[in-house]
Symmetry: C2
Subunit: 442 residues, 2 copies
Amino acid sequence: MPALNTDLYQLTMAAGYFASAKTEEIATFELTVRRLPTTRNFLLAAGLEQAVEYLLNLQFQPEELDYLRSLPQFQSAPAAFFEFLSQLRFTGDLFAVPEGTPVFANEPLAIVRAPLIEAQLVETFLLSTFAFQTAIASKAARCVIGSEGRPIVEFGSRRAHSPAAGILAGRAAYIGGCAGTSNAEAGMRFGIPVFGTAAHSWTMSFPDEEESFRALQRLLGDSTVFLLDTYDTIEAAHLAARLGPPLWGVRLDSGDLVALSREVRRILDNAGLRNAQIFATNDLNEHRVAELVHAGAPIDAFGVGTQLSTSSDAPALSAVYKLVELKRGDTVHYTAKFSGEKSTLPGAKQIYRYPSCDVVALYSECNSDFQGEPLLRPVISAGVAVEAPPPIAKLRENAKSAIAALPEELRSLEVAAAYPVEFSPHLLELAETVRERQLVRS
Amino acid sequence: MPALNTDLYQLTMAAGYFASAKTEEIATFELTVRRLPTTRNFLLAAGLEQAVEYLLNLQFQPEELDYLRSLPQFQSAPAAFFEFLSQLRFTGDLFAVPEGTPVFANEPLAIVRAPLIEAQLVETFLLSTFAFQTAIASKAARCVIGSEGRPIVEFGSRRAHSPAAGILAGRAAYIGGCAGTSNAEAGMRFGIPVFGTAAHSWTMSFPDEEESFRALQRLLGDSTVFLLDTYDTIEAAHLAARLGPPLWGVRLDSGDLVALSREVRRILDNAGLRNAQIFATNDLNEHRVAELVHAGAPIDAFGVGTQLSTSSDAPALSAVYKLVELKRGDTVHYTAKFSGEKSTLPGAKQIYRYPSCDVVALYSECNSDFQGEPLLRPVISAGVAVEAPPPIAKLRENAKSAIAALPEELRSLEVAAAYPVEFSPHLLELAETVRERQLVRS
C-alpha cells in the first residue's frame, strides 16, 4: 500500500514540520472511537495486523515524490524535504488492544509514539484500517449473538466497498465469530475457512433444474448444497428429496424463510434426509437472524452478506486520531482539543479492564495501582515488530471468550446502557491542568 | 488484484462447468441495481475503468491455484481444471454505460458476454467495483446539488471502508461533481485535484496558536487555511484577522456553523480580508450543506467526509449480476429468475434515453426503431479494450451535463417519483415466453 495513500494535509504538515525544525519532536497520537453507534453495545477491535504491515513497510516511491513535487502546495518546500521523505520509514512505537477485544467509546484502540512527521503521516491509513475492520467485526459479533450458536458465514464481498474491502470484511467477520467467508482470497491470505457451492446462474445454465442438481452432486458429493429458489422453492425441494444423497443440504434465498424452511424440512424429512441441513440467505442481518431463530424456523446456518460487509446500519465509526503528547527536547507537552463535543483528553493512556467496568488511566501511571487487566500492549517498538501476529483462529477464540465475559445486557441485540468507562483521577487532573494552561494562553 | 478475489462459489461452479463440458458455452450476464435507495432519485454510474483494468489483467497465479487444490471443495476436480484455470484470461466482451451517466433501477450498467466460466468468475469483483463507485458518485452528485454551485471537496478517506476504498471514493466523488479530494494517492493515480492544509494536531504541536498560524503562512503562502476551532473559534478568527495575508481563508470544523461563519465573516471583513474564504467541515452531508446554504451562511466551500466516502445513508446498492442468455452450440437460450421480488428479465439489453423516460429493449432489437440515445457501448471486445478510457475530467463534465438534463424534480434532495423506465414490447414478450417455458418444465 503506497505511502501516498493519505490525506494531503498530512504531507503539507510534514513539509511544515520539516521547515519548522520539528523533525526531532516525538509525538504521541491515540486512536479512539468517539461514540458507539446507537445499535452497538460494544465494539470488537480489529485491523491491527494490516496496520502493523503498513507501518513496517512504509516507504515513499520515487514517482510518489515526483508527484508531490509537481503540486502547487509543495512549490516552496525545500529539496531537502523530498530527500527526507525518500528516507522516511516508521521508526516509532505502536501500542494496541489485541484484535478481538471488546472496546468502548473513548478507549484508545491504538497509540502511536513516533517522530512527529511519521506519526502524523500514518493517521489516514490507520483510521480507515482500524475503523473499517472494527465496524465489521462488531457487526459480525452481533450476527453471531442473533443466531444463538448457529454458524454464520460472511457472504458480502460483492457489496463491499471495493473488491479490496471485501477481502478485509471476510477477515474481520471471522474474528467477530463468523464460521468463515465466501471470499476465496481472504481464505488464502488469512487462513479462514471458505464456503460456497453454486448460484442461480448454475441452475439456469443447465437445460433443467434436475440436470443442474445432478451435475452439482457429481462435483461436490457430500458438500452439495442445492439452491432451491431459482424457479420454485417447493418444487426444487421435492426434486432434492427425490435425488437424495450425496448432499450436505439446501439453500433458501428468497420468500418467507420461516414457512419455507418448515415446508422444506418436512419434505426432506419425509424423504429420509434428516441430516440434510437448511442454509438460509437473503438480505439477512442480526435482527432477521434472531427472528428466524425465535420463530423456530428449522434453519441450521445462515449466510449474511451486504448488511455485514458494509455494517449497513452503522457504516462508519466516529474514529479519531488525536495528538495527546509532544516531546520537545526533554520536555513532554500534553495536548488536547477543547471544542465542545469534540474535546479530547491529553496524555498517552492505558485501559484497565475490571469485571464490570473499564478504567482509562495515564500510561505513565503505575500498573500495580490497578487490579484490572491492562488492554494495550506494545506491538511495534522502535520500528520493529515485538512479536509475530497471532493466528487468526486464536483471535477469533479470544473474541468469543471476551464477549462471553461481558455483562449479559451488552450481549443482547437490544440497546443497553453504556458500559461504564471511568477515567483515573490523575488523567482528569492532567486534563484540567492542560485546559487551564490553554485558557491562560488564548 | 488477484483472480482469486471472488466468491468461492464462482470457482466451484467453474469446476462444475468444466466437468460438465460447458466451457464452450457463451454466457451473457447483466449487472443492474434492483431498486434505488429511497434517498436517491438517480444513480450516477461509476467504476468502469477499474472493471476494465481487472478484466484485461485477469490471470491466476500459481499460488492461488495451489490454494484451490488444497481445498476440500476441489478434491474431485480434475488436474485439467487447474491447468485450464492457469491459462484462463478474459476473452469476452464488455458493454457498459459510460461513467458519469445517470441510471435507474433495472437498467443494465454493464453487460458481460464471455465463455461461461469467465463471465461467472468475474461477478464478485464487477459487482463491488460498480456498486461501490456508483454509490459514491451518486452521493457526491447529491452533495453538489445541495451546495448549489459552491465547491465540495471529498475528505472521507479516513472513514472509508479500508484504505483502498478511500482512493476509489475520491475518484468516484470527483466524477460525481466534487472539486477534488483530500486523498493524495487518488490525486496521483487519477489526476484529480487534491486539497488539504493542516489539522488540529498542527496547531497543537506548536507552543501557541499564533506560532502555528505563522508557520503555516510561511509554508503555504496564498494557499494558507487557518483551522479555527482547536481552542476557541472566535479567538482564532481574531488572530487570523490580526495576522492578515498571505491567506486563502479559514476552516470551521465544529459548533454552530451558521452563527460562527457569520461572526467569522464579520471579523475577517472588518480586518479588510474580504477575499478570505470560509471553508466548512464537520460531519456534513447533502442536507446539512443545503441547510447552511439556505440559511445564508457565508460559507464558500465545503469538505464532506464520512457520509460521502461511505454513502452512509445508503451504504449498499442492491446490485445484481444475472444470467440473461446462454449460447449452446448455435442456439441462444434466454434465461431469467422468477422468484417474486427477485425476478429478472431475460436477454441482453440496451437502454434508450428519451427526454422524459428511458426504454429498456433487447440488444438485438433494431437501434433505428428507437429515437432515444443508446446508453450501453462496447468497451471490451474479444478481450481487447475498444478504446482508451476517457480522461476523468471529461467524465465529470459529462456527468454534470447529464444531471443538468434530468427532470428538475430528480435534481432535488427531496424524494421524487421514480423516473419512468419502460420495457419494450419485445422484451416483455420474451420474458413471458421464457416464464411459460419454465412453468411447463417444472
